[in-house]
């Protein structure tokens, strides 16, 4: 009896559409609400450095003198602690995930 249960399952999936997607030929669609990459908005930032102080991995660095924020995407764990801490709400988490990288560059904003 159980033999037919597995056969039934196997037959169902022989005829069904594949459960997997053909990544990287089809890009993965991030689900709404997914914690993806950190998004910076420039106009509201006052360079108070709270986000950099709160960052658990030290991925975010804020230079107040040069008005520059830099992030190491490979260090960022997208925890959202900086987003919660930001007093001016100039940081947010976008749904798309970070793209693959071959060098450890710091992005500047």
């Amino acid at each position: 009896m159980a033999y037919f249960q597995m056969s039934k399952l196997a037959l169902k999936w022989v005829l069904a559409k594949p459960a997997t997607s053909r990544y990287p030929f089809e890009p993965r669609r991030a689900l709404p609400g997914s914690r993806g990459t950190l998004v910076f908005s420039k106009d509201t930032c006052v360079y108070c450095t709270v986000c950099a102080k709160k960052c658990p991995t030290g991925a975010l660095v804020v230079n107040r003198a040069h008005k520059k924020r830099t992030i190491d995407r490979l260090l960022c764990i997208t925890c959202g602690y900086c987003v919660e801490a930001c007093p001016k709400k100039s940081l947010s988490l976008g749904t798309p995930h970070a793209t693959p990288a071959v060098t450890k560059d710091r992005e500047s904003y």
């Binding site: 249960q5 399952l9 196997a10 764990i77």
Partner: protein, 391 residues
């Protein structure tokens, strides 16, 4: 006619002579057993997701003794508590294990909340319960897949992980992460689940339940799976209790102990009973996990039906001061956190006793006397998570 091989040929390692012999050992004229051999198992082995090394002392195909060694992936997470402040440490606690991550974070938060006397809002407690049970479902489905792989049933492995992927999608949509949820914080939770998302979750859960039933029917009834699991690695009720087993290993031997009965989070308001079996073999451990999948789905339904409205977090001020022991039920069993704080923002001492650490003595009890081919199955039945164990 080909000659029979002799013990001398085996001892001398005379491969050309051995290849020229018959393969059937029944016709060997010398009936003395093969000398004792030590076979290294792991730390890299196809059946092991994580590194543990066993020196298996075998005679013929029987295992006489297993000598373990662990310590390949010690990361010093307990020491990090002195460098990261107690709020940031939630992220590290979540990363102790890649599978039961949410419950690690939850246990840490519960411990800090107990020291600091923080009253967590009821809605946050219910959300923690729902996410904790989703984490249990995905962990058990992962284990079922690994078990199917260990017994050589590749298609069943793929089907288990296909269903698990749908659970991960629910987790990603509600918390933002797939295995590192990141939604638990001291004083509550970071995210809420909206009413329409709850409806969608229940619809998805119904489909997942049907798919899971198809898979667990095969695990529990298929003769080829039963052949590999029934009567293998029997652990008596007394042994399981004496060796300090936890979780499904303990419950499969007939001890009805489940830390959720302590009533942490929202469990005090929910109706459930620990799932137990009496056989104590590998099949019983598999059956307990299969039934726990449906139990977790039922708990999620109960929790979402009763979930109260209101705040999801309270503001936390000040530093912890005191000592506490927090216990919760992870998919693999009971986890115990011991925290010592001295009123500064860094904790003084942090110690975790993970379920795999408690179940390793039982694994070493089961291995002697088993067939060499059953070792991967037996190692997997305790659901080893070596990263947790070594922290």
């Amino acid at each position: 006619m080909l000659p029979a091989y002799t013990v001398e040929m085996v001892k001398a390692g005379n491969m050309p002579a051995l290849r020229a012999c018959r393969e059937t050992s029944a016709l060997v004229t010398d009936t003395s057993p093969m000398p004792r051999t030590i076979i290294p198992f792991g730390p890299q082995h196809p059946v092991l997701p994580e590194p543990v090394h066993l020196d298996l002392v075998v005679e013929d195909e029987k295992v006489l003794e297993a000598r373990p060694s662990i310590g390949f992936i010690h990361r010093g997470l307990e020491k990090l508590v002195e460098k990261k402040d107690y709020v940031e440490f939630v992220y590290i606690a979540e990363r102790i294990c890649g599978i039961c991550s949410f419950i690690h974070g939850q246990t840490y938060c519960q411990a800090i909340e107990t020291i600091m006397n923080i009253a967590v809002p009821p809605r946050a407690l219910y959300l923690r319960t729902v996410w904790g049970e989703l984490s249990r479902i995905h962990s058990h489905l992962l284990w079922l897949g690994l078990m199917a792989d260990a017994v050589g049933f590749e298609s069943l492995f793929m089907h288990s992980w296909r269903v698990r992927e749908r659970v991960l999608n629910i987790i990603e949509a509600t918390t933002g992460g797939r295995v590192i949820f990141g939604s638990c914080k001291i004083g509550g939770v970071r995210r809420d689940i909206a009413a329409d998302a709850i409806k969608q979750l229940l619809v998805d859960l119904k489909k997942i339940e049907q798919d899971t039933r198809d898979i667990t029917n095969v695990f529990l009834n298929d003769s080829s799976v039963k052949d590999r699991l029934c009567g293998v690695g029997v652990l008596s009720r007394q042994d399981a209790y004496d060796l300090g087993c936890v979780g499904p290993v303990l419950r499969a031997s007939g001890v009805a102990q489940d830390m959720r009965q302590l009533g942490y989070a929202a469990f005090k308001d929910l109706d459930f009973a620990p799932i137990t079996r009496t056989e104590g073999d590998s099949y019983a451990r598999c059956a307990v996990r299969c039934q726990e999948l449906f139990q977790s789905m039922e708990i999620i339904r109960q929790a979402l039906a009763k979930i109260p409205e209101g705040e999801i977090a309270v503001k936390v001020t000040g530093n912890p001061n005191g000592e506490v022991l927090a216990r919760t039920e992870q998919p693999r069993g009971e986890v115990a956190y011991c925290l010592k704080a001295n009123g500064s923002k860094n904790l003084q001492r942090f110690r975790v006793r993970t379920p795999t650490f408690a179940n390793l003595p039982a694994m070493l009890k089961m291995l002697p006397g088993c067939d060499l081919a059953d070792v991967p199955v037996l190692v997997l039945t305790i659901d080893p998570c070596i990263s947790c164990t070594e922290r």
